[in-house]
Every structure is written in structure tokens, then in C-alpha cells.
């Protein structure tokens, strides 16, 4: 019973960390691109990045099943070529969390990068640093507060995912029952003390996230 109660905690942590591992590099890279580069489809990309932030979670879940389900475009391919089925697996929970965390991370990191004076980067270039080195050694360190805020906010959103996860990964005890889903099930079965445990953990986590994100500079948050 004890291990059974701990499982959702470990699962949620694993899912959120993996989701962040996927989202952070891609998100930071995209934030850099959107902040610095000017290209024709920039506005469209901006819209696509923001979309999962605005879409209702059940809509996201629906689209994920549409694409990755057994009869979906990508899902069907994965099944026939690799024998991989994503629906109702922890991997699906990771994907759902990654999708919802992505826009938050990008939209938090992007203003922080935009706030870094371009002159700093130009000076670094004149001193001989390559573009990549400039990004890694000048831009990102200068924007570290925003990057940190983006990471913790993304993590919080990833660990709190419910609707899309429920549809895409299911709520399977011992496999995909993350803490938010387990709270719902515990409530439905009248197990209030079990629900309270996960509520306490998630609330504590969220408070921590907000403290870190908020203290990471008004610059990062207010743009």
C-alpha cells in the first residue's frame, strides 16, 4: 500500500523531468531564434508556440490522440514500423506534459533574451567569439534569471498536466496515474486523505516554483 501511494509521486517527477529534458533545449533554442532572428514566418511560429498555452487541455488531448493514436498519422506509422504504441503509456504522459510546458518556457525565456542588449553580443563577436559561443557564454548567462523562471514554470506546468494526460495516457493505476490524476481518482473514491497528500505535495511544489520564478527578476516576467 505504501509503495502504491508513492508511485504517483515518483511517476509525476519522472514525467515532468523527462518532459523538461525534451522541452528545455528545444524551447531555449526557439526562444533565442524568436528573440534574435527576423524571418518571414516568424509571426506564424509565434502563434504556433503560443497555441498549446491557449488551447483547452482536452482539445490538446484530442489532437494528441488524433496524431499519435493507433489510427493517427504518426501513431499508425510508429505502430507498423516500430511496433510502438504511445497511447496509454508513461511516454504519452511525457509527451502531453511536454506539449503544455513548451509555450510557457519559450514565452518566459524569450523576453529575458530580448532584454539582453544586442551590443553585448556584438562586442563579443568583435572579440572573436563564434555565434554559438556568444549564445552560450554571453546571451544565456545574461538572461539566466529568465531561463531559470522558464524552467521552473515549465516544470510546474508539466507536473500539473491533467486533461491532455487523462485522454492520451489514460489514468491507469501503477502506470500512468500521475499526481493530478490520482487526486481526482482518490476524490472520486472518497479517499480524501490520499487526495490531500498529493494536493499538499503539488501545492508545496507550486509555491516553491512561484517563489523562484518571481524572484527571478521582474524583467523576466513583466514583458
Amino acid at each position: 500500500m505504501m509503495g502504491d501511494a508513492v508511485f504517483p509521486v515518483l511517476l509525476s517527477l519522472r514525467v515532468a523531468v523527462l518532459a523538461l529534458a525534451i522541452v528545455a533545449p528545444a524551447g531555449v533554442a526557439l526562444a533565442l531564434t524568436q528573440a534574435r532572428a527576423r524571418y518571414r514566418l516568424r509571426r506564424l511560429v509565434d502563434v504556433l508556440i503560443l497555441l498549446p498555452l491557449v488551447l483547452p487541455p482536452s482539445v490538446i488531448g484530442f489532437f494528441l490522440i488524433l496524431v499519435f493514436g493507433r489510427r493517427g498519422a504518426i501513431g499508425g506509422l510508429l505502430d507498423s514500423v516500430l511496433g510502438v504504441r504511445l497511447v496509454f503509456t508513461p511516454a504519452a504522459a511525457v509527451i502531453a506534459s511536454a506539449v503544455v510546458a513548451f509555450p510557457i518556457l519559450v514565452k518566459t525565456v524569450q523576453p529575458a533574451i530580448e532584454a539582453v542588449p544586442v551590443e553585448l553580443e556584438l562586442v563579443a563577436r568583435t572579440l572573436g567569439l563564434s555565434s554559438i559561443a556568444v549564445l552560450l557564454r554571453v546571451t544565456l548567462p545574461a538572461a539566466w534569471r529568465g531561463v531559470l523562471a522558464g524552467l521552473v514554470l515549465g516544470f510546474a506546468r508539466a507536473i500539473g498536466e491533467f486533461g491532455a494526460t487523462l485522454m492520451f495516457a489514460g489514468n491507469i493505476p501503477g502506470r500512468t496515474n500521475t499526481m493530478p490524476l490520482e487526486i481526482f481518482t482518490a476524490y472520486q473514491t472518497g479517499d480524501d486523505s490520499r487526495a490531500a497528500l498529493y494536493v499538499a505535495i503539488l501545492t508545496g511544489l507550486s509555491v516553491g516554483v512561484v517563489l523562484v520564478a518571481n524572484s527571478s527578476g521582474p524583467r523576466a516576467m513583466s514583458r
Partner: protein
């Protein structure tokens, strides 16, 4: 909108207008109402039953919400304003009776059902006993035993067959029996355990096996009136137990009580 009109439409008026809209959305029917909490497995037959009940009781207006019996039980426990419950098992009803939320005297078994194993038409044969021999990666959908009576019946039956624990890695749980059926229809699972009545009008799935033997479950549809609900609630239960109600239930594939 002219700037004058904007100035005239003060915040107060906007709030009042919004509240008026909201209250009309919740407008009350003027005749006797029956509010029913019904198990998901009854979603096809309940509209017919409600229609027949309303015809037999002129002026009456019945409405239903559907969900897993365990889920509905929780809502009623928390005080949801429902007049009658019609659940897919005895346990949730009896638990509500024990908590004093439902009237024991009104409790009736109004129909029975069968537990079946379904799969896609043209798919390989499989039975309850051979579930463990399904190809690796093939999954079986079952209602969540904690809240779905169909899932509880399935768990108990598979446990007597000695398969439940070994089947766990393949099991996909659905929040209600309707979701379990949908997983099968979507092809996300190779087999699903639902009620026989779920297949009515469904052409892309077939029954692969029916629960049988001494340990086969006997799913029951149980109705009872909720304490503090309208008296029409008990009347609805009587209707379900009547020959008129029984006929409608039978036409939808339910067995006699």
C-alpha cells in the same frame, strides 16, 4: 459602439446583464421534475425510459446525468441534487444507503446484464481464459475497478480465473464503461470487457466471449430514491420496476431482474 454608448454601459450594468443571462440558462421547468443519476451503461436506454415516464406522468420533465456509478455515488455523497439513482451494481447503492443518502425501502433491482469480452470484427479469437496468450503489446481495456462496476465485475471474474494479476501490464483502465468501449472501437486495445448491452447498434465490434461458469458475475441494474429528493424519485423507481419499464429495458438488451 459610439464612445457615448460605451460610457453609458457602466460596469454595474454589464455585471447585471451577465447575471441575468446566467440565471436564464438555469431556468426551472414549471412541472414536476425528476433528476436522475444513471450509470454510463444506461445512456442508450435512459432517454427512452424518461420519455415513457414523462408521457405516463403528464407535465413531468425528467433529466439524467451519466457517469461511472462510483463517480456518481461520490457526487451524491457530496450533496448533488439528484432524485433517483440507477446504478450498474449493488455496492454503490448500498453504500449510499449505509450513509443515509438513499432510501432503503425504495431500492429495487430493475434489470440484469451480462459481462462480455469484445474485440474487433475479423480480429483473432480470444476468450476470457486465453487473454494472457494475446500477442505482446496487445492490451485489454477494463473499467477502473475502483469506480466502475463493470471494472469491478471484470476484476473479480478474472481473479477467480487466476489471470488478474498477470494481466496487469496489459490492462488499460477506462473511467466508465463507455470509455472502455470507445478504446476498443478506436483500436487502441485488442479486447475490452464491457456489458453485453454495450454492443447494441455497434457494428465494428463483436462479442468474443461471455462470462460463464460458477464464478461468472451477475451484473445488476439497481435503482433507488435519494433522501431529500423529490417524491417523484420513488415514482420513477416504481416505473422502472413496472412492466412498461421492463419492456423498454428488455428491448435494449437488458435481462429481467
Amino acid at each position: 459602439m459610439s464612445s457615448r454608448a460605451l460610457a453609458v454601459m457602466s460596469p454595474c450594468r454589464t455585471v447585471v446583464a451577465l447575471l441575468a443571462c446566467a440565471s436564464t440558462m438555469a431556468c426551472e421547468h414549471k412541472g414536476p421534475e425528476v433528476s436522475i443519476a444513471a450509470a454510463t451503461s444506461l445512456r442508450a436506454v435512459m432517454p427512452e425510459l424518461m420519455h415513457a415516464y414523462d408521457l405516463a406522468h403528464p407535465g413531468s420533465h425528467s433529466s439524467a446525468t451519466y457517469g461511472a456509478s462510483g463517480e456518481l455515488r461520490q457526487q451524491i455523497e457530496a450533496g448533488a441534487p439528484v432524485d433517483v439513482v440507477v446504478f450498474a451494481g449493488e455496492r454503490p447503492v448500498d453504500e449510499l444507503i449505509k450513509e443515509g443518502r438513499v432510501d432503503a425501502a425504495s431500492r429495487r433491482i430493475v434489470a440484469t446484464n451480462e459481462l462480455v469480452l469484445v474485440g474487433t470484427k475479423g480480429g483473432p479469437p480470444v476468450t476470457f481464459e486465453t487473454l494472457l496468450t494475446l500477442p505482446d503489446g496487445d492490451r485489454v481495456a477494463v473499467g477502473d475497478p475502483r469506480t466502475v462496476p463493470a471494472g469491478e465485475y471484470a476484476r473479480d471474474y478474472l481473479s477467480t480465473l487466476g489471470e488478474w494479476d498477470a494481466l496487469q501490464p496489459r490492462v488499460v483502465t477506462g473511467a466508465n464503461v463507455g470509455a472502455v468501449l470507445v478504446y476498443a472501437r478506436r483500436g487502441e486495445v485488442a479486447a475490452a470487457i464491457v456489458y453485453a448491452t454495450e454492443l447494441r447498434g455497434v457494428t465494428d465490434l463483436v462479442v468474443k466471449d461471455t462470462a460463464h461458469g460458477d464464478h461468472a458475475p451477475h451484473p445488476k441494474v439497481v435503482a433507488a430514491a435519494v433522501h431529500g429528493g423529490r417524491t417523484e424519485g420513488a415514482e420513477f423507481v416504481r416505473f422502472l420496476s413496472s412492466s412498461a419499464g421492463g419492456k423498454i429495458l428488455a428491448s435494449f438488451g437488458f435481462g429481467a431482474p
